[in-house]
């Protein structure tokens, strides 16, 4: 059918492209270009090309912050997976009438501000908080535990904040899982461990990867959770970017860190892409 494009079609495509051009493509390009420019105390940047921002990232302090962030995000992802997988499996395989209600109950906390939920974690973990009060009352400890303002507190906050991001893609994946595969495996003589490792895990791999990407990326760039739960001691990449932008006023260095984060994200998306089938891809979003 050959026909002149309608006004509506042209208008909507142009609005969408114009918007994404101005608020996505141009800012992304600016970030990339700025990371190769030089710091200037009197302006935003000096237009002199350099690679020094990237060299500076090899500085000991920055490398250790980067490693700390990756370790934290990785640990958080593994814990979310360990907690979330059996949970998603249980609710996805419960009676279908209950299943969607059970999922809704996971999503509700997700609608409340993550800042507020982080604040609630503070109230639980602080020296005179609920957790210590409970443990003291039960006689398990005689001194309040100093959990708040530690690495452990940041980790607990991250897991709490991001657990739904792990459960949702796993649920979507496990829900479609065909029970007959399990029976087939058992008929062929596999025990439950073999069935789990050779059948269940490979079939739910897209969900596992999607959930891991959705937890890992935000965990790595957490910004107020380390400030609130970790005190000033446990700073992560997100805090480093903030410091370069708002305190040190070194925008080129800040953007270089941001480019590194984006490259890491690109690598993770690529892993996801090659491990998923066409129809599964939309699920991540």
């Amino acid at each position: 059918m050959k026909k002149k494009s309608s006004f509506f079609k042209i208008l909507s495509i142009n609005i969408v492209w114009l918007w994404l051009g101005i608020f996505a493509l141009i800012p992304i390009t600016l970030t990339f270009v700025t990371s190769f420019l030089t710091q200037d105390p009197n302006a935003i940047v000096k237009f002199a090309l350099t690679l020094s921002n990237y060299w500076e990232l090899f500085n000991h302090a920055y490398v250790s912050i980067l490693i700390q962030s990756i370790t934290l995000a990785g640990t958080c992802t593994v814990i979310c997976l360990i907690i979330g997988y059996p949970f998603a499996f249980t609710i996805a395989r419960s009676k279908s009438k209950h299943s969607s209600l059970l999922l809704l109950l996971v999503v509700i906390p997700f609608w409340t501000s993550s800042l507020i939920r982080t604040y609630a974690i503070m109230a639980i973990l602080k020296a005179k908080g609920i957790l210590n009060a409970m443990l003291l009352a039960m006689g398990l400890i005689d001194q309040p535990l100093q959990i708040l303002y530690s690495y452990l507190a940041v980790l607990i906050g991250c897991v709490y904040d991001l657990l739904p991001f792990m459960i949702l893609p796993l649920y979507a994946n496990i829900e479609k899982f065909n029970e007959e595969y399990l029976e087939a495996a058992q008929d062929l003589g596999a025990n439950w461990l073999t069935t789990f490792i050779k059948v269940v895990i490979p079939l739910t791999m897209p969900g596992i990867i999607a959930g891991s990407v959705l937890v890992f990326l935000p965990a790595m760039t957490m910004f107020y959770i380390p400030v609130l739960l970790g005190g000033a001691k446990n700073l992560l990449v997100g805090n480093l970017v903030e410091y370069q932008f708002l305190t040190a006023n070194n925008w080129p260095l800040g953007t270089a860190i941001s480019v590194v984060i984006s490259l890491l994200m690109g690598a993770m998306i690529a892993v996801y892409w090659y491990n998923s089938k066409e129809k599964d891809r939309e699920e991540l979003a």
Partner: protein, 257 residues
């Protein structure tokens, strides 16, 4: 896993998810400033919150910002989803990939890229920069929400409408919008809550001329735990739940289609 272990485990996870929220709600009614011991029921933290005119102004700012950002994002996001589904055009695959990538991009990366844009264009930070940034944050989420629904539509409807002489705009107005209304509404709601809760992007692109609730809560929380914050958080939780439940009921239960 036997049945009992399953139930026990599931309940433990729900407990973990809900305990912090429950604590905030309970302590917003506790008649004690610092103690964790229950000292009796009170509304005084709510009263002091409502007497705080600065707080009310900030809440109003956030509400306006959320409604405007969600509305603009819903229009652009819906147009994006419809264009991706119905039309062939230059750079369609790129557009699809871009939306997918934008959803995964850590907020801090988005935040500084927008800050750079505003600085190079010399736009002073304030209401407009916040509105545009929040809209930019929400557009991809709306696009994906609407797109996942639009792919379930039967394309024969469009052909039938075209055969009967409907223009593209008529099809959009009379077929696509009514059929996608639930998805468009969830997109709006998702955008509204994203805007209302956003700390990271707002932290970078806001100015002193327009203060908003998440940043106000952030500064209060950083200074320490105050009972008024509990009250404020409880109100926001109630408000979000109310908005979600009423929207779902009015849109999803109206017609048994």
């Amino acid at each position: 896993m036997n049945k009992f272990t399953k139930y026990f485990y599931t309940i433990c996870v729900y407990f973990f998810l809900y305990l912090p929220i429950a604590i905030v709600i309970v302590f917003s009614f506790n008649n004690a400033k610092h103690s964790l011991v229950w000292q009796g029921f009170t509304f005084k933290w709510y009263a002091s919150l409502f007497n705080d005119s600065a707080m009310l102004r900030v809440a109003w700012h956030s509400l306006i910002l959320g409604v405007l950002a969600a509305t603009i994002a819903t229009i652009i996001g819906t147009l994006a989803a419809v264009s991706l589904f119905r039309y062939r055009f230059f750079g369609k695959k790129i557009l699809h990939g871009l939306i997918f990538i934008l959803i995964l991009t850590p907020e801090i990366v988005t935040a500084i890229s927008l800050l750079l844009l505003y600085s190079f264009l010399k736009i002073p930070l304030g209401f407009w920069t916040l509105l545009l940034a929040h809209t930019a944050l929400c557009v991809p989420f709306v696009a994906v929400t609407v797109y996942s629904r639009i792919t379930t539509l039967d394309t024969d409807i469009f052909e039938a409408a075209m055969d009967l002489g409907a223009t593209d705009f008529t099809i959009f107005r009379k077929i696509i919008i009514p059929l996608l209304l639930p998805a468009i509404a969830s997109g709006w709601l998702l955008s509204f809550t994203l805007s209302l809760d956003d700390v990271i992007i707002s932290y970078f692109v806001s100015g002193p001329s327009f203060d908003i609730l998440p940043l106000k809560i952030y500064s209060m929380v950083r200074l320490g735990v105050k009972p008024e914050v509990n009250a404020l958080c409880t109100l926001m939780l109630a408000f979000t739940l109310f908005a979600v439940i009423t929207t779902y009921q009015s849109i999803f239960k109206k017609k048994p289609s």
